[in-house]
Symmetry: D2
Subunit: 503 residues, 4 copies
Amino acid sequence: MLMTAAGYRESLRRLTPRVFLNGAAVTSVADEPRLAPGLNAVGVSYDFAHTAENKRLMTVPAAGGPINRMLAIDATADDLLSKLEAVRLLCKEAGCAQRYLAHDAFNALFAATKRADDADSTSYHQRFLDYLADAQARDLALGIAMTDAKGDRSLRPSAQARPDAHLHIKERNAKGIVISGIKAIVTGAPYMHELLVMPSRTHRPEDSACAVACAVPIDAPGVTIIARAAGRSGDAAAKFSAKYGQSTAIVHFEDVFVSHERVFLAGECEAGGYLTTCYATHHRHSCIGARAGFGDLLIGAAGLMTEANGLDPEKYAHIREAMIELITITESFFACGVAASVYGMRDTAGCIAPEPVFANIGKLLLATKIYDMQRLAHYLSGGLIVALPGPDEDHNPETKASLAAVFQGRADIPPEHRRDVARLITDLTASDEGGWYSVISLHGGGSPEAMKREIWRNYPVMEKMELVEKLLGRGLVRAKSDKQPGRCCEQGCETPEAAAEDA
Amino acid sequence: MLMTAAGYRESLRRLTPRVFLNGAAVTSVADEPRLAPGLNAVGVSYDFAHTAENKRLMTVPAAGGPINRMLAIDATADDLLSKLEAVRLLCKEAGCAQRYLAHDAFNALFAATKRADDADSTSYHQRFLDYLADAQARDLALGIAMTDAKGDRSLRPSAQARPDAHLHIKERNAKGIVISGIKAIVTGAPYMHELLVMPSRTHRPEDSACAVACAVPIDAPGVTIIARAAGRSGDAAAKFSAKYGQSTAIVHFEDVFVSHERVFLAGECEAGGYLTTCYATHHRHSCIGARAGFGDLLIGAAGLMTEANGLDPEKYAHIREAMIELITITESFFACGVAASVYGMRDTAGCIAPEPVFANIGKLLLATKIYDMQRLAHYLSGGLIVALPGPDEDHNPETKASLAAVFQGRADIPPEHRRDVARLITDLTASDEGGWYSVISLHGGGSPEAMKREIWRNYPVMEKMELVEKLLGRGLVRAKSDKQPGRCCEQGCETPEAAAEDA
Amino acid sequence: MLMTAAGYRESLRRLTPRVFLNGAAVTSVADEPRLAPGLNAVGVSYDFAHTAENKRLMTVPAAGGPINRMLAIDATADDLLSKLEAVRLLCKEAGCAQRYLAHDAFNALFAATKRADDADSTSYHQRFLDYLADAQARDLALGIAMTDAKGDRSLRPSAQARPDAHLHIKERNAKGIVISGIKAIVTGAPYMHELLVMPSRTHRPEDSACAVACAVPIDAPGVTIIARAAGRSGDAAAKFSAKYGQSTAIVHFEDVFVSHERVFLAGECEAGGYLTTCYATHHRHSCIGARAGFGDLLIGAAGLMTEANGLDPEKYAHIREAMIELITITESFFACGVAASVYGMRDTAGCIAPEPVFANIGKLLLATKIYDMQRLAHYLSGGLIVALPGPDEDHNPETKASLAAVFQGRADIPPEHRRDVARLITDLTASDEGGWYSVISLHGGGSPEAMKREIWRNYPVMEKMELVEKLLGRGLVRAKSDKQPGRCCEQGCETPEAAAEDA
Amino acid sequence: MLMTAAGYRESLRRLTPRVFLNGAAVTSVADEPRLAPGLNAVGVSYDFAHTAENKRLMTVPAAGGPINRMLAIDATADDLLSKLEAVRLLCKEAGCAQRYLAHDAFNALFAATKRADDADSTSYHQRFLDYLADAQARDLALGIAMTDAKGDRSLRPSAQARPDAHLHIKERNAKGIVISGIKAIVTGAPYMHELLVMPSRTHRPEDSACAVACAVPIDAPGVTIIARAAGRSGDAAAKFSAKYGQSTAIVHFEDVFVSHERVFLAGECEAGGYLTTCYATHHRHSCIGARAGFGDLLIGAAGLMTEANGLDPEKYAHIREAMIELITITESFFACGVAASVYGMRDTAGCIAPEPVFANIGKLLLATKIYDMQRLAHYLSGGLIVALPGPDEDHNPETKASLAAVFQGRADIPPEHRRDVARLITDLTASDEGGWYSVISLHGGGSPEAMKREIWRNYPVMEKMELVEKLLGRGLVRAKSDKQPGRCCEQGCETPEAAAEDA
């Protein structure tokens, strides 16, 4: 049953998570103003599923009626492309839609549970399917608890001074497992229905307690959420983030019991690594759509600012050049998402995943180019934004006329229009919120080094070497036992955090 | 009827073009060693149409039997993608396959002749269809004569000191037209069957004599071809270009008569401009596939060199990093070609063209990144290539042992293998031939400024501005008469050369 | 007499500027907490002049005792280099020291007043010298009121709908002039002793009323300052900007009277343009030193974060690579400042200015690379900073242990040390304050297009063309009347804002 | 006694080196046309020492009369700057002047021999001084034999399959030493008077036989030179390299005896490593000057081409932009050379070396930006150069008129002028010779990874960390025993080739 944003908000009232925000407990998530932009943003993913123009992209037909695309398993390349477009659609409205995280986790769990079962005759896959059907039916909002606190980055989980640096299985009993540990970056945690716990890397046998995946109700005993405000509710200068934003939270699991039917992996290192990788691939693909939507906002805002400044890009080559560069950045990483969809790879479980080289390249590009996008937005906005007084000044009769003269650009555009676009650009690119967008773009879904590892691991370098060997008219001298270039060695695989979440 | 490379070569013997090469006339194109790499490269496009593994990509089913994809009209997004892949396939074997130029011109003529007919009740479209059917049936190799000599770049055609700076209609009579002028860069000209003459920009009424498109046999009276050698035939150091290469030629048309049934435009400025733009879009899309194939060669060669140097990319981060960057460059511009295919735009004539923003971005990226590809190839090859003696030294008994000691890298790889890969990299990236590849990548299909113009002209900036206006909670204040940002003004359209050819 | 920071603060109490901040009037600038970081930062420039290790750089010997280098006229290349180093010294402590603006303006006024006198037999130079001596003696803090509000950027001053879009002479009388207009970005305005009004571009005769330079006491009748807070006083999360920051203010001059002895230009367009250019050159040179100091802070913070994460750059190539890139960026633009000093150009007035090509290149580089610096700082910090709770959480007993586990990296470094470095990086690069630093770097001292114009205008392109002509063995065919490439045409000079201020 | 170019050429006739070129022995180096551009280029360094306008830069006063700056020991920062400028001066005339290599080696030997003596009570320094005085007096041309053949890059010298992969001391006797091994890239070898043998890295004790430095006459028994042609003598299309170019040669030393007075190190690993590093620092500094001179040539050529195309940079923003980018690249790496001079570091031996961070950054920048310089040169030249027929066509009466029409740009500039500039750009950037310039820029003086190592090793990261610690109000918690960040570990030092030579 597809919920609406209103229904989603209402549903949160039935939950009692333990949430701290700025040093105090939150009594009602649904009514907490500092979380409202988060609920609004998630709400968009619910409401768009009901609007005539977005319904096709936002939902997927299913036996029991349409389900939200953000909870669907991809079966075809076209599904991947539709998901990519749907994410862009949501994010050009809401900045970060959060709910594609559930999509990414579901698709990864679908594949990895099957793999675990095939290897070890476990029965995780069916358990997961049951959970999936229920989550789709209830149209849940799900947080992804993946990135561990990690501690000393040069040491493996079991070598850390504090055991909670990585979430792990502390105890197993007849009914289920008991988990403990800290997940450091959980987007949207306070206003989720449940959390999906996932491993954040491939583990070695000695760390197998960390290879755990399961579903935990947001208000399960032992779960503590330490959250940041979502956006900048109530800040009139925050033209975007007063309305939409995401909370990123630290989630501490202290002896949390999870019953068997909600456990999808419990110690299987190989399948756990596969789960992490699958999730990362899906998620990097989603990030591409998300940041393209962010690009749409910047392109539009820069266009408005340029117009208000009286600078016609047709006549001012340096302005046009900057607009084109902004467009080129946005669409070139989006193109990688399209290619990853078109060349999607079918898993033995029957689902399809984005082609990993393209997905990782797209994410790698956006991760670094988000800073160029900021630069271009600033270039196009002009220097006004460093001297822009805040909204408290808007109604000061003693300064009103002065400010109107400062904000006035092209004579036929009201000064406050130009001021508001300047504030919007500030909010998106030169503020606490803008900083959040840049860092989440860089590190969300794993840091650049993790993407590079995946590109290298998946690229058929050997095939190209053979092409050249043939051209040079000789057979390959390489012995069969030679290590295949392009395949990641044991040592190499350990270094990068395979994937962190994002927003 | 699909020809083979051998049949193609034979067919050239029946033609008598007037060709000059290095100051002397060429008596038989088919037997001229300095053109052999060109015939070889074009030959690949013929032979691949017959091989089991490539047939599917290289041919298109048609009523009268399969035709070569390089001569087909695209009807679906999948056709565009197949063409893109086919071009990459050809170019990773032959460097530059030349024949996609005919594809690009045919698709553009298909659309533009229809447009001219719709506007002016002419009957160019049927004429073209007849010509097309014949060219497909005879499986022709066609040169594209587009880039005019141009003269002073700040002046329009009719203002040039020398009238032949642009090809133009000099005379019209009952049977056809007489054309004169110089086309400055015609890839593969000497070993083509015919030339397709195309306008290289949109013309104003006073220059309408230049808005001409027609087909001219390669040995038509009045056609003179001043060619450069194709590749470096006979040069043992040229591990690639001794085998494959393209001649770029200057073609002078002096009072060449073209009968009506071979004339596809003759003075229609608007349709001529459309033809140029359509061609440019198709061609930039093809360039993407071509240079991705070139990237495949570099990746393979760099992989071999790294291996021979004893540097395992798993262990040497800076080597792996460079390999990944080379891969990222290649696949990120290729992704733009994929996206341009997926979002292909149907023309009113019924054919489909690549989406122009993605196609232009892809070409823009490769145009500048070809230099980074060279840099990375050199980075990975090491400094050896500046001191590498030529093949004359290979059999000198007095230096043989010294050279073996220099060429020896990893002990189990023969020294001459490492030497040959070094020569291949030199040939592709640090030689006369390498220079050709970089410049043709930069300027072929139009220089970067032309791409930027097209990106700007086609991007829906106004749509994004409206998105942001809505977000800011206000209607658009813009009057209907306001110029649409993102639409190219008359003045702006004149500057760039809309498209030049490429290889 | 060299003041101390304490003396400076005290001196502000004797002034009564009309200042608005966040919608309300400021009653005592010296006691306003939201301006305190600004006073602190300016204070550093006073106190460092007294410390043993900084005295040599921070002061210049003069007849009446040492003066602050920030108020001195440069006489030698070594003076330029010392100033550059002094600015870096101040800014690596205080982020933005503000006071080099006075240096830049004084040196420009020194040259431009001489030039005006030489051209028009005026006596501005002596007037300025008198003012200078007084300012040095009183060790003043001076704000630079240069960047006009501008209005529609496509129209010249006299064509604007609102005349106050540019500051201009409204009236001249026997005792002085009356000026009106808005200066849009005045760094540090509220806590200055006086303002130096300067033209922000070259003007045409019809706009000559805007070619005005003069000194105005901060509390002159008719001066209104609309300021933003300086830094983020009282915000415990703001590890840097709670202590140091700059206010950027809008300053409205409404019928402000300036007596003749304080007027340094009044309608001289040519000298006004020269003044703008001279200021820009000095100021871009100063910006280089300033942002190199900012780079020092980022390098240090990134080093601490890497250490706390347990990632030894010797072992983790991608970490080392990022550190090296951060260093390379910082030192390569600083090197341009050094070169601009070494090749400093003597003015006919007797002072010396930085060589303009190097000064502009250095500023151009930092303007765009500040975004790469942010990217690298984030890359090195890791993703922690998006989930970092604020200081309100620091003492919450219910979350304390959880947070300690998140903040703990290397076991021997206290968790709160890692947390604080993360906060510092957030403050400097991913916050409102970080946004300010990036935009001020991009647009301060003029936007990149202005730098490019200056590089072009000053570079001896013709000389290099002659070199190549000679190499080709032929004389220059160019007629004497040919326009010299590299010299900016009338039309070209109008476009860019010649210079804006900075921080 | 300062020689002239003519005297230098004559002096070569008195030597009888064993040189092979293209498979055959060279009987007279002075008369071999394929080496003539090399002699010309070296000759410039001799002749410029005699011309009135260059004398000041090109010579250094000494007791016995002026000596060539290319053979002088630097005593002051000003010496470093003069050398930098002198190298630029030579290279903008001759492309690569070669002789600064001797300067770099001499300065390094001056410092390293002193260091060896101080450590081990040897007497290398005085030996070297005697040799130096003689070399200066005879105004020798000296080749630097540094880069070893290396073999498998993952193995140390003593572990190589072929012992000659690294030059080493094979025997020691009463009169001197006997050396064997291959030096792979010796610029200008055939037309040198002597070779200076240098170690190409720091060695471990087991490889101490490779830590050898000595001087060997070019025609010493056992020395074989396998050379490539210098430039492209006799090729009329090679507008630059027909005149000037450098041979890069492989030099095999087979049981070459060197008497004690010519041996400057013989097994001292630490001093050998220091020698390599010192040489690298000096040489990278010289490379900066050299490539800035190359930049001058490109800027001039691009200016001429733009002019001939009729494109006034004032009117065409994209042309101006590209010119400015070319200038910015050239002058920003040159600025690093200036800064390295200004902050030069005095050695305990009494000489001065360029500051290593700036020197390495400058070289690192040029190494990668040479490819951007090529791109910009091509961008500005337009596509003509891919279709430009060779000189054989110049006098063909049948094509003459056609070609004139193609080459004609701006009406008042003769077509052959435009053609020749196009050929010059091709020669410098899109030819075998252009390839040589790019690879030598990338790898000469060590590859980018080597520069990065040096930047890291020399940068005071710890100092900046302390700055930030202080700002955060806490002392350093770091134990004294902690490894100093910024100091290269043993393991790290091994990877990079410390320095290769260049041209």
